[in-house]
Symmetry: C2
Subunit: 321 residues, 2 copies
Protein backbone atom coordinates (compact mmCIF):
# COMPACT_ATOMS: atom_id res chain seq x y z
CA UNK A 1 0.00 0.00 0.00
CA UNK A 2 3.05 2.27 0.45
CA UNK A 3 1.13 4.58 2.72
CA UNK A 4 -0.95 6.29 0.09
CA UNK A 5 -4.00 7.58 1.91
CA UNK A 6 -7.10 6.23 0.30
CA UNK A 7 -9.66 8.74 1.28
CA UNK A 8 -12.70 6.63 0.92
CA UNK A 9 -16.12 7.05 2.23
CA UNK A 10 -15.75 5.22 5.48
CA UNK A 11 -12.99 7.55 6.59
CA UNK A 12 -14.75 10.73 5.78
CA UNK A 13 -17.31 13.26 6.63
CA UNK A 14 -20.38 12.09 4.82
CA UNK A 15 -23.93 13.18 4.44
CA UNK A 16 -26.98 11.52 3.09
CA UNK A 17 -29.79 13.15 1.17
CA UNK A 18 -32.56 11.83 -0.99
CA UNK A 19 -32.24 12.71 -4.66
CA UNK A 20 -34.65 15.46 -5.53
CA UNK A 21 -36.67 16.01 -8.65
CA UNK A 22 -34.83 18.61 -10.66
CA UNK A 23 -36.46 20.98 -13.10
CA UNK A 24 -33.59 20.65 -15.53
CA UNK A 25 -33.94 16.93 -15.93
CA UNK A 26 -36.71 17.32 -18.47
CA UNK A 27 -34.63 19.51 -20.75
CA UNK A 28 -31.57 17.30 -20.75
CA UNK A 29 -30.55 16.51 -24.29
CA UNK A 30 -29.67 12.86 -24.35
CA UNK A 31 -29.70 9.79 -26.50
CA UNK A 32 -32.33 7.13 -26.03
CA UNK A 33 -32.52 6.49 -22.28
CA UNK A 34 -30.88 3.33 -21.05
CA UNK A 35 -33.40 0.56 -20.63
CA UNK A 36 -30.87 -1.73 -18.98
CA UNK A 37 -30.53 -1.77 -15.22
CA UNK A 38 -26.83 -1.62 -14.45
CA UNK A 39 -26.22 0.06 -11.11
CA UNK A 40 -25.39 3.72 -11.58
CA UNK A 41 -22.42 5.59 -10.14
CA UNK A 42 -21.39 9.24 -10.35
CA UNK A 43 -18.20 10.65 -8.81
CA UNK A 44 -17.04 14.26 -9.03
CA UNK A 45 -14.17 16.38 -7.78
CA UNK A 46 -13.52 20.06 -7.31
CA UNK A 47 -9.72 19.93 -7.37
CA UNK A 48 -7.04 19.04 -4.85
CA UNK A 49 -4.98 20.72 -2.15
CA UNK A 50 -7.70 22.54 -0.24
CA UNK A 51 -10.86 21.89 1.76
CA UNK A 52 -14.13 23.01 0.22
CA UNK A 53 -15.92 26.09 1.48
CA UNK A 54 -19.57 25.77 2.48
CA UNK A 55 -20.61 27.05 -0.96
CA UNK A 56 -18.32 24.62 -2.73
CA UNK A 57 -19.52 21.70 -0.62
CA UNK A 58 -23.12 22.67 -1.42
CA UNK A 59 -22.29 22.87 -5.12
CA UNK A 60 -20.71 19.42 -5.10
CA UNK A 61 -23.72 17.98 -3.28
CA UNK A 62 -26.13 19.59 -5.75
CA UNK A 63 -24.24 18.21 -8.72
CA UNK A 64 -24.23 14.72 -7.22
CA UNK A 65 -27.97 14.95 -6.55
CA UNK A 66 -28.81 16.29 -9.97
CA UNK A 67 -26.54 13.78 -11.67
CA UNK A 68 -28.07 10.93 -9.71
CA UNK A 69 -31.55 12.00 -10.76
CA UNK A 70 -30.47 12.05 -14.39
CA UNK A 71 -28.75 8.69 -14.29
CA UNK A 72 -31.72 7.17 -12.46
CA UNK A 73 -33.93 8.26 -15.35
CA UNK A 74 -31.66 6.55 -17.84
CA UNK A 75 -29.43 9.47 -18.89
CA UNK A 76 -26.16 8.47 -20.50
CA UNK A 77 -22.89 8.66 -18.58
CA UNK A 78 -21.43 10.94 -21.25
CA UNK A 79 -24.30 13.43 -20.94
CA UNK A 80 -24.21 13.44 -17.16
CA UNK A 81 -20.44 13.91 -17.07
CA UNK A 82 -20.80 16.88 -19.39
CA UNK A 83 -23.67 18.29 -17.35
CA UNK A 84 -21.77 17.89 -14.07
CA UNK A 85 -18.75 19.73 -15.44
CA UNK A 86 -20.96 22.51 -16.83
CA UNK A 87 -22.58 23.06 -13.45
CA UNK A 88 -19.21 23.44 -11.80
CA UNK A 89 -17.92 25.66 -14.64
CA UNK A 90 -20.91 27.97 -14.23
CA UNK A 91 -20.73 28.12 -10.43
CA UNK A 92 -17.78 30.52 -10.54
CA UNK A 93 -16.42 28.99 -7.34
CA UNK A 94 -14.09 26.41 -8.85
CA UNK A 95 -11.09 26.88 -11.11
CA UNK A 96 -13.00 26.11 -14.30
CA UNK A 97 -15.28 28.07 -16.61
CA UNK A 98 -16.48 31.26 -14.91
CA UNK A 99 -14.14 30.76 -11.96
CA UNK A 100 -11.06 30.06 -14.10
CA UNK A 101 -7.85 31.42 -12.64
CA UNK A 102 -5.59 34.02 -14.25
CA UNK A 103 -2.36 33.72 -16.17
CA UNK A 104 0.60 35.92 -15.28
CA UNK A 105 -0.75 38.30 -17.95
CA UNK A 106 -4.14 38.52 -16.26
CA UNK A 107 -5.89 36.54 -18.97
CA UNK A 108 -8.01 33.43 -18.45
CA UNK A 109 -7.19 30.34 -20.52
CA UNK A 110 -9.45 27.35 -20.09
CA UNK A 111 -8.93 23.67 -20.89
CA UNK A 112 -11.30 20.68 -20.84
CA UNK A 113 -11.79 17.18 -22.19
CA UNK A 114 -14.43 14.48 -22.30
CA UNK A 115 -14.26 10.81 -23.26
CA UNK A 116 -16.83 8.13 -24.03
CA UNK A 117 -15.93 4.66 -22.77
CA UNK A 118 -18.14 2.98 -25.37
CA UNK A 119 -15.93 3.73 -28.36
CA UNK A 120 -12.98 5.65 -26.88
CA UNK A 121 -14.20 8.71 -28.72
CA UNK A 122 -13.03 11.92 -27.12
CA UNK A 123 -13.00 15.70 -27.41
CA UNK A 124 -10.49 18.08 -25.86
CA UNK A 125 -9.90 21.83 -25.95
CA UNK A 126 -7.18 24.05 -24.55
CA UNK A 127 -6.18 27.67 -24.18
CA UNK A 128 -9.71 29.07 -24.65
CA UNK A 129 -10.20 32.70 -23.71
CA UNK A 130 -13.82 33.33 -24.58
CA UNK A 131 -15.81 30.10 -24.40
CA UNK A 132 -18.29 29.95 -21.54
CA UNK A 133 -18.33 26.17 -21.19
CA UNK A 134 -15.13 24.47 -22.33
CA UNK A 135 -16.55 21.02 -21.55
CA UNK A 136 -19.40 21.70 -23.96
CA UNK A 137 -16.98 22.66 -26.70
CA UNK A 138 -14.95 19.51 -25.96
CA UNK A 139 -18.16 17.52 -26.46
CA UNK A 140 -18.83 19.34 -29.74
CA UNK A 141 -15.30 18.67 -30.97
CA UNK A 142 -15.93 15.01 -30.23
CA UNK A 143 -19.39 14.84 -31.78
CA UNK A 144 -19.23 17.26 -34.69
CA UNK A 145 -15.67 17.41 -35.98
CA UNK A 146 -13.31 14.72 -37.28
CA UNK A 147 -10.87 15.93 -34.63
CA UNK A 148 -10.24 15.15 -30.97
CA UNK A 149 -8.09 18.04 -29.80
CA UNK A 150 -8.40 21.72 -30.68
CA UNK A 151 -6.66 24.71 -29.12
CA UNK A 152 -6.67 28.50 -29.06
CA UNK A 153 -8.47 30.76 -31.54
CA UNK A 154 -9.11 27.83 -33.87
CA UNK A 155 -11.05 26.11 -31.12
CA UNK A 156 -12.93 29.31 -30.30
CA UNK A 157 -13.87 29.61 -33.98
CA UNK A 158 -15.47 26.17 -33.70
CA UNK A 159 -17.41 27.35 -30.65
CA UNK A 160 -18.86 30.17 -32.75
CA UNK A 161 -19.59 27.82 -35.63
CA UNK A 162 -21.49 25.56 -33.21
CA UNK A 163 -23.25 28.59 -31.71
CA UNK A 164 -21.91 27.94 -28.23
CA UNK A 165 -22.04 30.82 -25.81
CA UNK A 166 -18.95 33.02 -25.78
CA UNK A 167 -18.01 35.55 -23.12
CA UNK A 168 -15.86 38.63 -22.64
CA UNK A 169 -12.98 38.81 -20.12
CA UNK A 170 -15.16 40.49 -17.47
CA UNK A 171 -17.25 37.31 -17.24
CA UNK A 172 -14.56 35.62 -15.21
CA UNK A 173 -14.61 36.02 -11.44
CA UNK A 174 -11.02 35.28 -10.42
CA UNK A 175 -8.66 38.04 -9.38
CA UNK A 176 -5.41 38.51 -11.26
CA UNK A 177 -3.60 39.72 -8.18
CA UNK A 178 -4.14 37.35 -5.31
CA UNK A 179 -3.90 33.62 -5.42
CA UNK A 180 -6.09 33.42 -2.33
CA UNK A 181 -8.86 35.14 -4.23
CA UNK A 182 -8.60 32.81 -7.16
CA UNK A 183 -10.92 29.85 -7.24
CA UNK A 184 -9.04 26.70 -6.35
CA UNK A 185 -9.78 23.48 -7.99
CA UNK A 186 -10.00 21.87 -11.37
CA UNK A 187 -13.32 20.03 -11.69
CA UNK A 188 -14.15 16.63 -13.08
CA UNK A 189 -16.67 13.83 -13.22
CA UNK A 190 -16.80 10.12 -13.98
CA UNK A 191 -19.96 8.06 -14.37
CA UNK A 192 -21.33 4.59 -14.95
CA UNK A 193 -24.84 4.63 -16.35
CA UNK A 194 -27.71 2.14 -16.42
CA UNK A 195 -26.47 0.79 -19.73
CA UNK A 196 -23.18 -0.08 -18.07
CA UNK A 197 -21.32 2.57 -20.06
CA UNK A 198 -18.50 4.69 -18.66
CA UNK A 199 -17.53 8.31 -19.34
CA UNK A 200 -15.10 10.85 -17.91
CA UNK A 201 -14.62 14.61 -18.20
CA UNK A 202 -12.39 17.29 -16.71
CA UNK A 203 -12.38 21.10 -16.90
CA UNK A 204 -9.89 23.65 -15.58
CA UNK A 205 -8.45 27.13 -15.66
CA UNK A 206 -5.03 25.64 -15.09
CA UNK A 207 -2.30 26.89 -12.79
CA UNK A 208 -2.65 30.24 -11.07
CA UNK A 209 -0.17 32.64 -12.64
CA UNK A 210 0.75 30.24 -15.41
CA UNK A 211 2.51 31.47 -18.52
CA UNK A 212 0.04 32.10 -21.38
CA UNK A 213 -0.13 29.02 -23.57
CA UNK A 214 0.65 26.58 -20.77
CA UNK A 215 -1.53 23.47 -20.91
CA UNK A 216 -1.82 20.93 -18.11
CA UNK A 217 -3.15 17.41 -17.98
CA UNK A 218 -6.88 18.20 -18.02
CA UNK A 219 -7.26 18.30 -21.82
CA UNK A 220 -4.68 15.58 -22.43
CA UNK A 221 -6.48 12.32 -23.10
CA UNK A 222 -4.52 9.63 -21.25
CA UNK A 223 -3.19 12.08 -18.66
CA UNK A 224 -6.06 13.94 -16.92
CA UNK A 225 -8.97 12.09 -18.52
CA UNK A 226 -9.62 8.60 -19.88
CA UNK A 227 -12.61 6.29 -20.21
CA UNK A 228 -12.89 2.78 -21.60
CA UNK A 229 -15.86 0.47 -21.04
CA UNK A 230 -13.38 -2.40 -20.80
CA UNK A 231 -11.59 -0.81 -17.86
CA UNK A 232 -12.55 2.41 -16.05
CA UNK A 233 -13.27 6.13 -16.24
CA UNK A 234 -10.78 8.53 -14.65
CA UNK A 235 -10.60 12.30 -14.04
CA UNK A 236 -7.49 13.75 -12.40
CA UNK A 237 -6.40 17.00 -10.77
CA UNK A 238 -3.07 18.21 -9.48
CA UNK A 239 0.31 19.14 -10.90
CA UNK A 240 -0.64 18.68 -14.52
CA UNK A 241 2.92 18.43 -15.77
CA UNK A 242 3.57 15.41 -13.59
CA UNK A 243 0.27 13.79 -14.55
CA UNK A 244 1.14 14.14 -18.23
CA UNK A 245 4.60 12.65 -17.71
CA UNK A 246 3.19 9.74 -15.69
CA UNK A 247 0.40 9.07 -18.24
CA UNK A 248 -1.86 8.77 -15.21
CA UNK A 249 -5.33 8.09 -16.61
CA UNK A 250 -4.02 5.94 -19.44
CA UNK A 251 -1.81 4.02 -17.04
CA UNK A 252 -4.79 3.11 -14.87
CA UNK A 253 -6.80 1.94 -17.86
CA UNK A 254 -3.90 -0.04 -19.28
CA UNK A 255 -3.12 -1.78 -16.00
CA UNK A 256 -6.75 -2.88 -15.80
CA UNK A 257 -6.76 -4.02 -19.43
CA UNK A 258 -3.54 -6.01 -19.37
CA UNK A 259 -3.25 -7.36 -15.82
CA UNK A 260 -5.54 -8.98 -13.28
CA UNK A 261 -5.05 -6.15 -10.82
CA UNK A 262 -8.01 -4.15 -9.55
CA UNK A 263 -8.82 -0.44 -9.70
CA UNK A 264 -7.30 0.31 -6.28
CA UNK A 265 -4.00 -1.19 -7.34
CA UNK A 266 -4.00 0.64 -10.67
CA UNK A 267 -4.77 3.99 -9.02
CA UNK A 268 -2.12 3.49 -6.34
CA UNK A 269 0.43 2.52 -8.95
CA UNK A 270 -0.28 5.64 -11.02
CA UNK A 271 -0.16 7.99 -8.06
CA UNK A 272 3.05 6.30 -6.91
CA UNK A 273 4.51 7.16 -10.32
CA UNK A 274 3.41 10.79 -9.85
CA UNK A 275 5.09 10.83 -6.44
CA UNK A 276 8.23 9.22 -7.88
CA UNK A 277 8.68 12.32 -10.05
CA UNK A 278 7.89 14.56 -7.09
CA UNK A 279 4.38 15.39 -8.16
CA UNK A 280 1.17 15.72 -6.18
CA UNK A 281 -2.52 15.54 -6.92
CA UNK A 282 -5.44 13.18 -6.94
CA UNK A 283 -8.12 11.57 -9.03
CA UNK A 284 -11.57 10.07 -9.10
CA UNK A 285 -12.28 6.78 -10.86
CA UNK A 286 -14.99 4.23 -11.41
CA UNK A 287 -14.49 0.87 -13.07
CA UNK A 288 -16.89 -1.17 -15.17
CA UNK A 289 -18.11 -3.06 -12.12
CA UNK A 290 -19.00 0.21 -10.41
CA UNK A 291 -16.11 0.23 -7.96
CA UNK A 292 -15.17 3.80 -7.00
CA UNK A 293 -11.67 4.84 -6.00
CA UNK A 294 -10.95 8.41 -4.97
CA UNK A 295 -7.33 8.92 -4.00
CA UNK A 296 -4.58 11.49 -3.72
CA UNK A 297 -0.86 11.63 -3.22
CA UNK A 298 0.33 12.03 0.38
CA UNK A 299 -1.78 14.19 2.66
CA UNK A 300 -3.62 16.14 0.00
CA UNK A 301 -7.21 17.07 0.73
CA UNK A 302 -9.50 16.70 -2.29
CA UNK A 303 -13.05 18.04 -2.22
CA UNK A 304 -14.98 15.31 -3.96
CA UNK A 305 -17.73 12.80 -3.60
CA UNK A 306 -19.79 10.09 -5.15
CA UNK A 307 -23.30 8.72 -5.29
CA UNK A 308 -24.55 5.25 -6.11
CA UNK A 309 -27.86 3.61 -6.84
CA UNK A 310 -29.29 4.39 -3.38
CA UNK A 311 -28.86 8.13 -3.79
CA UNK A 312 -26.76 8.55 -0.66
CA UNK A 313 -24.21 11.30 -1.18
CA UNK A 314 -20.71 10.61 0.11
CA UNK A 315 -18.55 13.73 0.32
CA UNK A 316 -14.94 14.20 1.40
CA UNK A 317 -13.12 17.38 2.34
CA UNK A 318 -16.44 19.08 1.74
CA UNK A 319 -18.55 19.07 4.89
CA UNK A 320 -22.15 20.23 4.66
CA UNK A 321 -23.60 22.11 7.59
Amino acid sequence: MKGLPFLLSVLLSACAAAPRKDREVASLKTETPCQARAKLVLAIHGGVGYVASEAQARALADVLQGGHARLAQGARALDVVQWANEQMEDSGIFNAGKGGTRTNQGTVELDASIMDGRDLDAGAVASLKDVKNPIRLARMVKDRTPHVFMVGPGASAKAREFKLETVTPDYFTASAEKKSESSPGTVGAVALDRCGDLAAGTSTGGLFGKAPGRVGDSPVIGAGTYANNKTAAISATGEGEKFIRANVAGRISNILEYTRENLSFAVRESLNQVEAIKGSGGLISVDRQGEVVIATTQKEPMPSGFVREDGKLVLQDAALK
Copy 2:
Protein backbone atom coordinates in the same frame (compact mmCIF):
# COMPACT_ATOMS: atom_id res chain seq x y z
CA MET B 1 -0.27 -12.00 -34.76
CA LYS B 2 -3.66 -11.05 -36.24
CA GLY B 3 -2.11 -10.29 -39.62
CA LEU B 4 -0.43 -7.04 -38.69
CA PRO B 5 2.45 -6.68 -41.10
CA PHE B 6 5.65 -6.20 -39.22
CA LEU B 7 7.77 -4.39 -41.69
CA LEU B 8 11.10 -5.31 -40.29
CA SER B 9 14.48 -5.26 -41.81
CA VAL B 10 14.57 -8.72 -43.32
CA LEU B 11 11.50 -8.00 -45.40
CA LEU B 12 12.67 -4.77 -46.81
CA SER B 13 14.87 -2.92 -49.14
CA ALA B 14 17.99 -2.27 -47.11
CA CYS B 15 21.33 -0.68 -47.61
CA ALA B 16 24.59 -0.65 -45.71
CA ALA B 17 26.93 2.26 -45.34
CA ALA B 18 29.76 3.01 -42.98
CA PRO B 19 29.05 5.87 -40.60
CA ARG B 20 30.90 8.94 -41.77
CA LYS B 21 32.61 11.62 -39.76
CA ASP B 22 30.25 14.56 -39.67
CA ARG B 23 31.36 18.13 -39.33
CA GLU B 24 28.48 18.98 -37.07
CA VAL B 25 29.37 16.42 -34.46
CA ALA B 26 31.92 18.73 -32.90
CA SER B 27 29.37 21.46 -32.30
CA LEU B 28 26.75 19.26 -30.75
CA LYS B 29 25.71 20.67 -27.43
CA THR B 30 25.43 17.76 -25.08
CA GLU B 31 25.85 16.71 -21.51
CA THR B 32 28.94 14.80 -20.42
CA PRO B 33 29.40 12.04 -23.01
CA CYS B 34 28.40 8.58 -21.92
CA GLN B 35 31.37 6.61 -20.70
CA ALA B 36 29.37 3.42 -20.45
CA ARG B 37 29.25 1.02 -23.37
CA ALA B 38 25.63 0.06 -23.85
CA LYS B 39 24.93 -0.81 -27.47
CA LEU B 40 23.46 2.16 -29.30
CA VAL B 41 20.31 2.24 -31.41
CA LEU B 42 18.69 5.01 -33.42
CA ALA B 43 15.41 4.62 -35.31
CA ILE B 44 13.65 7.35 -37.29
CA HIS B 45 10.54 7.75 -39.41
CA GLY B 46 9.30 10.20 -42.00
CA GLY B 47 5.60 9.52 -41.65
CA VAL B 48 3.25 6.84 -42.93
CA GLY B 49 1.10 6.14 -45.99
CA TYR B 50 3.59 6.82 -48.77
CA VAL B 51 6.91 5.60 -50.10
CA ALA B 52 9.87 7.97 -49.77
CA SER B 53 11.18 9.86 -52.77
CA GLU B 54 14.87 9.59 -53.57
CA ALA B 55 15.49 12.87 -51.70
CA GLN B 56 13.53 11.70 -48.67
CA ALA B 57 15.33 8.35 -48.63
CA ARG B 58 18.67 10.19 -48.80
CA ALA B 59 17.61 12.48 -45.95
CA LEU B 60 16.62 9.53 -43.76
CA ALA B 61 19.93 7.81 -44.48
CA ASP B 62 21.89 10.96 -43.68
CA VAL B 63 20.09 11.40 -40.38
CA LEU B 64 20.74 7.80 -39.41
CA GLN B 65 24.42 8.16 -40.30
CA GLY B 66 24.82 11.45 -38.47
CA GLY B 67 22.91 10.18 -35.47
CA HIS B 68 24.99 7.03 -35.35
CA ALA B 69 28.20 9.08 -35.37
CA ARG B 70 26.92 11.15 -32.49
CA LEU B 71 25.78 8.22 -30.40
CA ALA B 72 29.06 6.42 -31.09
CA GLN B 73 30.88 9.41 -29.62
CA GLY B 74 28.79 9.23 -26.48
CA ALA B 75 26.08 11.76 -27.32
CA ARG B 76 22.92 11.43 -25.24
CA ALA B 77 19.79 9.86 -26.68
CA LEU B 78 17.82 13.02 -25.89
CA ASP B 79 20.24 15.24 -27.83
CA VAL B 80 20.36 12.90 -30.80
CA VAL B 81 16.58 12.58 -30.94
CA GLN B 82 16.32 16.36 -30.95
CA TRP B 83 19.04 16.67 -33.60
CA ALA B 84 17.41 14.04 -35.82
CA ASN B 85 14.04 15.80 -35.69
CA GLU B 86 15.68 19.16 -36.43
CA GLN B 87 17.39 17.80 -39.53
CA MET B 88 14.10 16.50 -40.86
CA GLU B 89 12.30 19.74 -39.90
CA ASP B 90 14.88 21.77 -41.82
CA SER B 91 14.89 19.53 -44.89
CA GLY B 92 11.60 20.96 -46.11
CA ILE B 93 10.68 17.60 -47.62
CA PHE B 94 8.75 16.14 -44.71
CA ASN B 95 5.57 17.40 -43.04
CA ALA B 96 7.40 19.07 -40.17
CA GLY B 97 9.21 22.38 -39.69
CA LYS B 98 9.95 24.00 -43.05
CA GLY B 99 7.89 21.41 -44.92
CA GLY B 100 4.88 21.68 -42.63
CA THR B 101 1.56 21.28 -44.43
CA ARG B 102 -1.19 23.91 -44.64
CA THR B 103 -4.43 24.32 -42.75
CA ASN B 104 -7.65 24.99 -44.63
CA GLN B 105 -6.87 28.68 -44.07
CA GLY B 106 -3.48 28.38 -45.74
CA THR B 107 -1.58 28.81 -42.51
CA VAL B 108 1.05 26.45 -41.12
CA GLU B 109 0.63 25.19 -37.54
CA LEU B 110 3.38 22.99 -36.17
CA ASP B 111 3.44 20.55 -33.25
CA ALA B 112 6.26 18.61 -31.57
CA SER B 113 7.25 16.82 -28.40
CA ILE B 114 10.29 15.23 -26.81
CA MET B 115 10.67 12.95 -23.80
CA ASP B 116 13.60 11.77 -21.70
CA GLY B 117 13.39 8.18 -20.53
CA ARG B 118 15.66 8.84 -17.56
CA ASP B 119 13.19 10.89 -15.54
CA LEU B 120 10.06 10.98 -17.71
CA ASP B 121 10.64 14.67 -18.21
CA ALA B 122 9.04 15.98 -21.37
CA GLY B 123 8.37 19.06 -23.45
CA ALA B 124 5.59 19.53 -25.99
CA VAL B 125 4.40 22.38 -28.18
CA ALA B 126 1.42 22.80 -30.49
CA SER B 127 -0.13 25.21 -32.94
CA LEU B 128 3.08 27.16 -33.65
CA LYS B 129 3.02 29.48 -36.65
CA ASP B 130 6.43 31.08 -36.57
CA VAL B 131 8.94 28.82 -34.82
CA LYS B 132 11.58 27.34 -37.14
CA ASN B 133 12.25 24.22 -35.09
CA PRO B 134 9.32 23.08 -32.97
CA ILE B 135 11.33 20.17 -31.54
CA ARG B 136 13.90 22.65 -30.22
CA LEU B 137 11.17 24.66 -28.52
CA ALA B 138 9.76 21.44 -27.04
CA ARG B 139 13.22 20.76 -25.62
CA MET B 140 13.39 24.29 -24.20
CA VAL B 141 9.95 23.93 -22.61
CA LYS B 142 11.22 20.76 -20.98
CA ASP B 143 14.58 22.16 -19.86
CA ARG B 144 13.85 25.77 -19.05
CA THR B 145 10.26 26.08 -17.92
CA PRO B 146 8.31 24.42 -15.11
CA HIS B 147 5.85 23.32 -17.79
CA VAL B 148 5.55 20.36 -20.14
CA PHE B 149 3.03 21.52 -22.74
CA MET B 150 2.68 24.97 -24.31
CA VAL B 151 0.56 26.02 -27.28
CA GLY B 152 -0.05 28.91 -29.65
CA PRO B 153 1.20 32.47 -29.20
CA GLY B 154 2.20 31.76 -25.59
CA ALA B 155 4.54 29.05 -26.81
CA SER B 156 5.91 31.34 -29.54
CA ALA B 157 6.57 33.97 -26.89
CA LYS B 158 8.74 31.43 -25.08
CA ALA B 159 10.62 30.77 -28.32
CA ARG B 160 11.48 34.47 -28.49
CA GLU B 161 12.40 34.55 -24.81
CA PHE B 162 14.79 31.64 -25.44
CA LYS B 163 16.10 33.34 -28.59
CA LEU B 164 15.08 30.50 -30.84
CA GLU B 165 14.88 31.27 -34.53
CA THR B 166 11.47 32.43 -35.73
CA VAL B 167 10.26 32.59 -39.31
CA THR B 168 7.67 34.32 -41.47
CA PRO B 169 4.96 32.43 -43.40
CA ASP B 170 6.98 32.47 -46.64
CA TYR B 171 9.56 30.21 -44.98
CA PHE B 172 7.31 27.21 -45.38
CA THR B 173 7.49 25.21 -48.58
CA ALA B 174 4.15 23.42 -48.74
CA SER B 175 1.43 24.52 -51.10
CA ALA B 176 -1.92 25.53 -49.73
CA GLU B 177 -3.78 24.28 -52.78
CA LYS B 178 -2.71 20.81 -53.63
CA LYS B 179 -2.36 17.95 -51.24
CA SER B 180 0.00 16.24 -53.68
CA GLU B 181 2.36 19.18 -53.40
CA SER B 182 2.33 19.14 -49.65
CA SER B 183 5.12 17.29 -47.91
CA PRO B 184 3.87 13.99 -46.57
CA GLY B 185 5.04 12.65 -43.34
CA THR B 186 5.33 13.51 -39.70
CA VAL B 187 8.88 12.84 -38.51
CA GLY B 188 10.17 11.19 -35.37
CA ALA B 189 13.12 9.53 -33.69
CA VAL B 190 13.81 7.15 -30.82
CA ALA B 191 17.24 6.33 -29.45
CA LEU B 192 19.13 4.23 -26.94
CA ASP B 193 22.52 5.70 -26.07
CA ARG B 194 25.75 4.29 -24.66
CA CYS B 195 24.55 5.09 -21.15
CA GLY B 196 21.56 2.84 -21.74
CA ASP B 197 19.18 5.79 -21.68
CA LEU B 198 16.12 6.11 -23.92
CA ALA B 199 14.53 9.16 -25.55
CA ALA B 200 11.78 9.85 -28.09
CA GLY B 201 10.68 12.85 -30.13
CA THR B 202 8.11 13.64 -32.81
CA SER B 203 7.48 16.70 -35.01
CA THR B 204 4.69 17.45 -37.47
CA GLY B 205 2.70 19.94 -39.46
CA GLY B 206 -0.41 17.88 -38.80
CA LEU B 207 -3.16 16.97 -41.22
CA PHE B 208 -3.27 18.57 -44.67
CA GLY B 209 -6.19 20.97 -44.75
CA LYS B 210 -6.86 20.66 -41.04
CA ALA B 211 -8.96 23.23 -39.24
CA PRO B 212 -6.82 25.88 -37.52
CA GLY B 213 -6.26 24.86 -33.92
CA ARG B 214 -6.46 21.13 -34.59
CA VAL B 215 -3.82 19.19 -32.68
CA GLY B 216 -2.97 15.55 -33.35
CA ASP B 217 -1.05 12.97 -31.36
CA SER B 218 2.49 14.22 -32.03
CA PRO B 219 2.62 16.69 -29.12
CA VAL B 220 0.49 14.54 -26.83
CA ILE B 221 2.78 12.73 -24.40
CA GLY B 222 1.41 9.19 -24.09
CA ALA B 223 -0.17 9.28 -27.57
CA GLY B 224 2.44 10.11 -30.23
CA THR B 225 5.52 10.16 -28.01
CA TYR B 226 6.67 8.40 -24.84
CA ALA B 227 9.98 7.31 -23.33
CA ASN B 228 10.75 5.50 -20.10
CA ASN B 229 14.08 3.86 -19.31
CA LYS B 230 12.15 1.08 -17.59
CA THR B 231 10.29 0.22 -20.78
CA ALA B 232 10.79 1.75 -24.24
CA ALA B 233 10.85 4.87 -26.40
CA ILE B 234 8.10 5.34 -28.97
CA SER B 235 7.33 7.84 -31.76
CA ALA B 236 4.14 7.43 -33.76
CA THR B 237 2.62 8.77 -36.97
CA GLY B 238 -0.79 8.36 -38.54
CA GLU B 239 -4.34 9.39 -37.81
CA GLY B 240 -3.54 11.41 -34.73
CA GLU B 241 -7.09 11.41 -33.39
CA LYS B 242 -7.09 7.62 -33.22
CA PHE B 243 -3.64 7.51 -31.66
CA ILE B 244 -4.77 9.90 -28.92
CA ARG B 245 -7.89 7.84 -28.21
CA ALA B 246 -5.90 4.59 -28.10
CA ASN B 247 -3.20 6.10 -25.84
CA VAL B 248 -0.75 4.38 -28.18
CA ALA B 249 2.70 5.29 -26.87
CA GLY B 250 1.62 5.15 -23.23
CA ARG B 251 -0.12 1.82 -23.82
CA ILE B 252 3.10 0.28 -25.15
CA SER B 253 5.10 1.54 -22.20
CA ASN B 254 2.49 0.41 -19.69
CA ILE B 255 2.20 -3.07 -21.18
CA LEU B 256 5.97 -3.45 -20.86
CA GLU B 257 5.97 -2.09 -17.32
CA TYR B 258 3.14 -4.21 -15.94
CA THR B 259 3.28 -7.47 -17.89
CA ARG B 260 5.97 -9.90 -19.03
CA GLU B 261 5.13 -9.30 -22.67
CA ASN B 262 7.79 -8.05 -25.08
CA LEU B 263 7.94 -4.95 -27.27
CA SER B 264 6.54 -6.72 -30.36
CA PHE B 265 3.47 -7.77 -28.41
CA ALA B 266 2.98 -4.32 -26.91
CA VAL B 267 3.27 -2.63 -30.30
CA ARG B 268 0.90 -5.08 -31.96
CA GLU B 269 -1.59 -4.66 -29.17
CA SER B 270 -1.54 -0.87 -29.48
CA LEU B 271 -1.88 -0.89 -33.25
CA ASN B 272 -4.69 -3.43 -32.94
CA GLN B 273 -6.45 -0.92 -30.70
CA VAL B 274 -5.95 1.79 -33.33
CA GLU B 275 -7.42 -0.54 -35.97
CA ALA B 276 -10.32 -1.42 -33.67
CA ILE B 277 -11.40 2.22 -33.82
CA LYS B 278 -10.81 2.27 -37.59
CA GLY B 279 -7.55 4.18 -37.45
CA SER B 280 -4.36 3.73 -39.39
CA GLY B 281 -0.73 4.65 -38.91
CA GLY B 282 2.52 3.33 -37.59
CA LEU B 283 5.31 3.80 -35.12
CA ILE B 284 8.96 3.25 -34.33
CA SER B 285 10.08 1.91 -30.98
CA VAL B 286 13.15 0.72 -29.14
CA ASP B 287 13.13 -0.94 -25.76
CA ARG B 288 15.72 -0.82 -22.99
CA GLN B 289 17.41 -3.95 -24.31
CA GLY B 290 17.82 -2.31 -27.70
CA GLU B 291 15.12 -4.28 -29.49
CA VAL B 292 13.66 -2.27 -32.37
CA VAL B 293 10.10 -2.67 -33.58
CA ILE B 294 8.86 -0.66 -36.55
CA ALA B 295 5.27 -1.46 -37.43
CA THR B 296 2.14 -0.10 -39.05
CA THR B 297 -1.51 -0.93 -39.32
CA GLN B 298 -2.54 -3.03 -42.34
CA LYS B 299 -0.71 -2.39 -45.59
CA GLU B 300 0.63 1.05 -44.78
CA PRO B 301 4.07 1.91 -46.12
CA MET B 302 6.21 3.85 -43.66
CA PRO B 303 9.48 5.45 -44.73
CA SER B 304 11.74 4.73 -41.81
CA GLY B 305 14.87 2.99 -40.69
CA PHE B 306 17.28 2.22 -37.93
CA VAL B 307 20.94 1.82 -37.20
CA ARG B 308 22.70 -0.17 -34.50
CA GLU B 309 26.20 -0.40 -33.12
CA ASP B 310 27.66 -1.70 -36.39
CA GLY B 311 26.58 1.37 -38.34
CA LYS B 312 24.65 -0.57 -40.95
CA LEU B 313 21.63 1.44 -42.08
CA VAL B 314 18.39 -0.46 -42.46
CA LEU B 315 15.75 1.46 -44.42
CA GLN B 316 12.21 0.56 -45.36
CA ASP B 317 9.92 2.14 -47.93
CA ALA B 318 12.87 4.38 -48.71
CA ALA B 319 15.12 2.78 -51.32
CA LEU B 320 18.46 4.43 -52.07
CA LYS B 321 19.73 4.27 -55.64
